[in-house]
Symmetry: C2
Subunit: 187 residues, 2 copies
DNA sequence: GTCTATAGTAAGATAGAC
DNA sequence: GTCTATCTTACTATAGAC
């Protein structure tokens, strides 16, 4: 063959990374296969050498994105983990979905996708929640924390930038610190 | 004219109601104008007598849906308000987006829409948050509560039905009751 | 494996009859 | 105001050359 044996999986990896960023930014179903492939430096014809359908790509994106997020949240110390959580509720995260968490950006589209995509999501969320359990008392609080973080970013992004958006992030941050039993920061 | 003077606004109201349900279920950008109009018992040609573009419809849906939600949350007594909140975190709400809250269903698409849509969302959320302020101590907690509710439904819907989904709703419900200073229910 | 080219369908939006 | 019919563009997916 004219390509190295590792070429295909490397290309697929680049594909999933590039299309993941674009999907988080513009939305998955709102983005065409042409645009996805252009973002990865290829043309649409090559797409189906890697995926049987567009839906299969979403499945791969979900698995890849949640794996990346799980690595981020698996911080070695509690203080580092807290910094990651504060960053999650930052204006920077709200303003840059393309480099942020896939959950607030894609969850409703995952909910409308097939069972395979939802199961990929469940598996990814399991790994994520494991990191959260190390920070709070029990399972229920870990899920509450996940919901708090995701909901705040979802609502903040739908609001225009301004005081309301800031208030959502501020309110969620305080509640998060309460949930974690940490004293609220000044600044 | 061949139609009653009130016909247009009545038709527009039916249109916004029917398309709102469909948008919440299938996604706004994933649904075509043809499908939207069919849901309202009309054909696509009539659409542009009511809206200048598809985006303008989303704006109208957002305003209408949040107004309906604000009425729901403006419960007369605290106990009734609590029942509404528990219903928000119910399996029924997760399983029926078409008759549920527009925020978890459409927020990411609102975030990607134009400034006009985001401002319609901001106005609607202002009315909603006013109802929440009556239930908690301060402004920050009201936003935290909103985030908690929205995030739990967003995450629960993306998960397949099963123990993980139930745990998300359960965890968020407990956290909500803590936030409201209410004792946790048995059952 | 990736390209160009294209089939076939569906999208958003408009025109003209009633 | 709503219909049918249509324009134009974009979509998902496939075919065949390299």
């Amino acid at each position: 063959m004219r390509y190295a044996p590792t070429h295909k999986e490397e290309a697929r990896t680049r594909l999933v990374e590039a299309t993941g960023a674009l999907a988080k930014q513009k939305g998955f179903s709102a983005t065409g296969v042409d645009s996805f492939m252009a973002a990865a430096g290829m043309t649409s014809g090559a797409f189906y050498a890697h995926f049987r359908s567009k839906n299969e790509l979403l499945e791969a994106i979900v698995a890849n994105e949640l794996q990346r997020s799980a690595q981020l949240f698996a911080a070695p110390t509690r203080e580092q983990a807290l910094e990651v959580l504060r960053g999650y509720l930052s204006h920077a995260h709200v303003e840059h979905p393309e480099s942020g968490c896939a959950v607030p950006a894609l969850a409703p589209e995952i909910a409308r996708a097939g069972a395979a995509t939802q199961h990929a999501f469940e598996q990814g969320m399991g790994a994520l929640q494991a990191s959260f359990r190390a920070l709070v008392d029990d399972d229920a609080k870990a899920w509450a924390l996940v919901s708090q973080l995701v909901g705040a970013v979802v609502v903040a992004r739908a609001l225009p930038s301004g005081p309301a958006r800031a208030a959502v992030l501020e309110g969620a941050t305080r509640q998060m610190e309460l949930l974690l039993g940490e004293p609220s920061r000044e600044s």
